[in-house]
């Protein structure tokens, strides 16, 4: 760039064209947000502002954005403003605009003219070709604004003039549902405003390489913003809906706690939703205690089963085995186990473990099946952790004359412990929420009235296997299973909650457990990483 005036350094004073582009960006981002609010029904579509319904205003916004885009594009083409456009808008822009125009053409032909297959396909093709040509052939400042704003103007105009409004509906023959205008308008506006953001950001930064960069970043930023909003919404929904159920009857000092040794009773936190059983006659506030205990037992058993196996295999693969055919097979098998759908584990438990261990749904089969699912994760993470231990450690230990196994035991495994622990915690977070296999091998009655008494059920017998545990061989409930059975069961047995309210409460408890595990896992990873970098 030989001309300093062309660089961004010069753009302190904003020109009219930049103002117009800024206006386009503001209008379209607002339209984007408003459309989502309409889709989520936070905003009623009959709301009127200055005599116009929201829907019509959205149409107006699209038209305004289209006007602004055309203005900046034309101003740039006539060299009224300083820009650095490329000779063409580029192949990808051509494809996008072409697709857009062909969809537009198809909708025009079917929805307005009621055309048959032959006609709408050919209309779509013609529109698509024309659209991509108009965007590719002219210089970039025209090619990336005018074709886009044409579409925006037509769609926005139809909405603004009330051709598509809340009462209008589209009922195509190939779709079993009816698309009402009140939903179609926000959907159209969401996509339209994304287009306007893309084109507007490009214009704002003077087209060319800079403009394309700004456009891409704006688009990606908006998409990621949307993604994080979805996450926030999901969690928000559960918290808002579940909090009331979870706090039913909860008080800070309503409960009584008797201290065991000195035998004094003091006021204590009372949290009936967490400390009560679900079914039973004498429960005023049904709770999720059996499910929580069940989840704890499941996770405990799975960890006891999977961690020694996974860590042992990881040690063998990294320390003893030579890299070759055998390690490759194990690697493929591990990744295969990792990607196997959870329901398939359930089927396997149903076919192999259930008939041989308990003859029906039981805690111990659930523990084993979840252990199978946890195993590959433990193996992969602890293997990575062991590989990350520097060879100097092993060499130093070997130089002292220590045997290989003692090196592994007192140097390698302790050094790899942080990574392994983090992996196990994250894996536990995953299996704690696992439901599908539990349906086949674990689940008991939907509203349990007692908690599984695993510790107290061990008994010695005279016949093999000599030690039995009735509770381990009986079905139980777990938090995710409780949620599923609450959803699918008919009517909640108590008046205090509906099924849905109880479900939201269970979902919140489950979410808290899982998020808690994740927070611990991520936190420990950060902690160990910091510690490693400080050393």
């Amino acid at each position: 760039m030989s001309n300093v005036r062309d660089t961004a350094l010069h753009s302190d004073e904003s020109t009219t064209s930049e103002l117009a582009a800024d206006g386009v960006l503001t209008v379209s981002f607002t339209a984007f947000l408003v459309s989502w609010a309409l889709l989520f029904q936070w905003l009623d579509e009959t709301t009127t502002v200055a005599g116009l319904t929201v829907l019509r205003l959205l149409g107006v916004a699209l038209v305004v954005a289209a006007g602004g885009l055309v203005a900046t594009g034309v101003a740039s083409r006539l060299d009224v403003v300083d820009t650095t456009p490329s000779p063409t808008a580029g192949f990808s822009a051509g494809v996008v605009v072409g697709l857009l125009w062909s969809i537009f053409g198809a909708l025009l032909a079917t929805a307005l003219l009621g055309a048959g297959t032959v006609l709408w396909v050919s209309t779509a093709l013609v529109f698509g070709v024309v659209g991509s040509l108009t965007s590719v052939l002219p210089r970039e400042d025209i090619g990336s604004t005018v074709p886009v704003s044409l579409v925006l103007a037509v769609v926005g105009g139809a909405i603004a003039l009330g051709r598509i409004d809340g009462g209008w509906s589209w009922d195509p023959a190939w779709l079993s549902a009816v698309v009402p205008g009140s939903e179609l308008v926000p959907i159209l506006v969401v996509f339209g405003s994304l287009l306007a953001v893309w084109s507007g950001a490009k214009a704002r930064h003077g087209f060319g390489a800079q403009g394309r960069e700004a456009a891409a970043f704006a688009l990606i930023g908006t998409v990621v913003f949307g993604m994080l909003s979805v996450l926030a919404l999901l969690i928000g929904f559960i918290v808002v809906n579940g909090l009331e159920t979870m706090l039913t009857g909860a008080t800070l000092s309503g409960g009584r706690l008797t201290l065991p040794v000195i035998d004094v009773t003091i006021p204590w936190v009372s949290f009936p939703f967490l400390t009560n059983v679900t079914g039973g006659l004498y429960v005023d506030v049904p709770g999720v205690l059996p499910a929580t205990i069940g989840t704890l037992w499941l996770v405990f058993g799975a960890v006891i089963f999977a961690v020694p196996l996974g860590v042992g295999a990881a040690v063998f693969l990294t320390e003893y085995a030579e890299r070759g055919r055998f390690t490759q097979v194990v690697e493929v098998a591990t990744n295969g186990l990792w990607s196997t759908p959870s329901i398939v584990f359930g089927l396997f438990g149903l076919a192999f473990l259930v008939p041989r261990i308990s003859g029906g749904n039981s805690i111990i089969v659930g523990q084993l099946v979840l252990g199978f699912m946890l195993l590959p994760l433990v193996l992969i993470t602890s293997r990575e952790a062991i590989l990350a231990v520097p060879d100097e450690y092993r060499d130093a230990s070997a130089a002292l004359g220590v045997t290989k196994w003692q090196t592994i035991r007192s140097v390698v495994v302790p050094a790899a412990m942080p990574g392994t622990i983090t992996g196990v915690i994250l894996g536990v977070g995953r299996i704690a929420g696992e439901t599908a296999p539990l349906l086949l091998v674990f689940g008991g009655p939907p509203y349990p009235s007692q908690t599984p008494d695993v510790l107290g059920s061990f008994a010695l017998t005279a016949t093999p296997p000599f030690v039995t545990n009735e509770a381990l061989l009986a079905p139980a409930s777990a938090l995710p299973y409780q949620l599923y059975s609450t959803i699918t069961a008919g009517v909640f047995p108590k008046d205090i909650f509906t099924n849905q309210e109880f479900g939201w409460g269970t979902a919140l408890v489950l979410l808290l457990v899982v998020i808690g595990l994740y927070a611990i896992g991520v936190g420990s990873r950060l902690y160990f990483r910091r510690k490693l970098h400080h050393e």
């Binding site: 079993s176 196997t340 398939v344 599908a436 093999p464 599923y484 959803i487 489950l510 899982v514």
Partner: protein
Amino acid sequence: MLQLLQEGHSGLSRRARDYRSRTADGAIAMHGLVALWIGAAFALFFSGSQWTVLPVVGFLGTTAYGWVRYQGEAAKGLTFLTTIVTVAILALIISFLLWRSLPIVQQMGVALLTKTQPAGNIWGANDGTVWSLTPMMVGTAITTVIATTVAAPLGIAGAVFISELAPTRVRELVKPGIELMAGIPSITYGFIGLTIVNQYFYSEFRTPTIGNYLAAGIMIGIMALPTIVTVAEDALSTVPESMKSGSLAMGSTEWQTTKSVTIPAALSGISAGILLGVGRAMGETMAATVMLSHTKGFPTPVFDVFAGYGETLTTVIAFEGGNASGLHLSALFAGGVVLFFMVMVLSVTSQFVEWRMEKKLRGER
């Protein structure tokens, strides 16, 4: 081929000689005894015998004695055993799925996967002798396509954002957020889908049933998103900094570098991420089970995502597996086989693709 076999054979015998000369006689006896106990325990367990406990006790005793006498060898043997168990679990899963789905294959033949007529009545028809998986395969295909359409572009955008655009502080916030999204239990997604998304489509779009492929597909897509973001982001961040710096030094913008250098270099990693995401979407069970209507049939035309049908391979197993028997159960196992092999192919392909990328980048370094 023969040469390869011979090589493998000589490698094995060399290893056997090595093992023989480096291990004390007592330790060899211990290894042999442990192998014997484990074999016996598995055989007894397999036949459903109460006496399984005896070889287990024998194994524990031998190991405890061996641990005291030959700790190093005992540890090596035990870690080898755990590795074998890991592989054996997968082998057992495959063989049991195949074995249990044998009856329905004998009954139905290829029609198990291809039968489409009569459309409304091919699951449990003719007094429970006709079970065809075709409607569920179509359902799985529809939800997977919808989910991939939702998740792939968003996932790639998210990965590019995290690895290329975001300032360090934002990245440290967004990345755990995405991981958390992967950790939210699928049944929770399903519950939200059932109470909010399904109701929305039912009341606003007047769908014939509560629950449709589109709503379930979108929800599954949201669930598959974190997998794609994480794997694609890993791939993007393994592209050597020198490649990017080279491009930036030539005067290209950051976006040009990302678009023309980083993404092409990481393309195989990104596609591996998408493949894994597709696998997750295919195997996703609970959200779909709760959200779909469990009516089996073929939507016509096939892209009518609001048709009154809703059943996938995973949902039919989860929904009917608890109280099925005989041929019905066998058909469900066959569904599991189909699912397992599709996901396995995706997983192996993505591993191969990733391995190739690693090789390529290492070669250019």
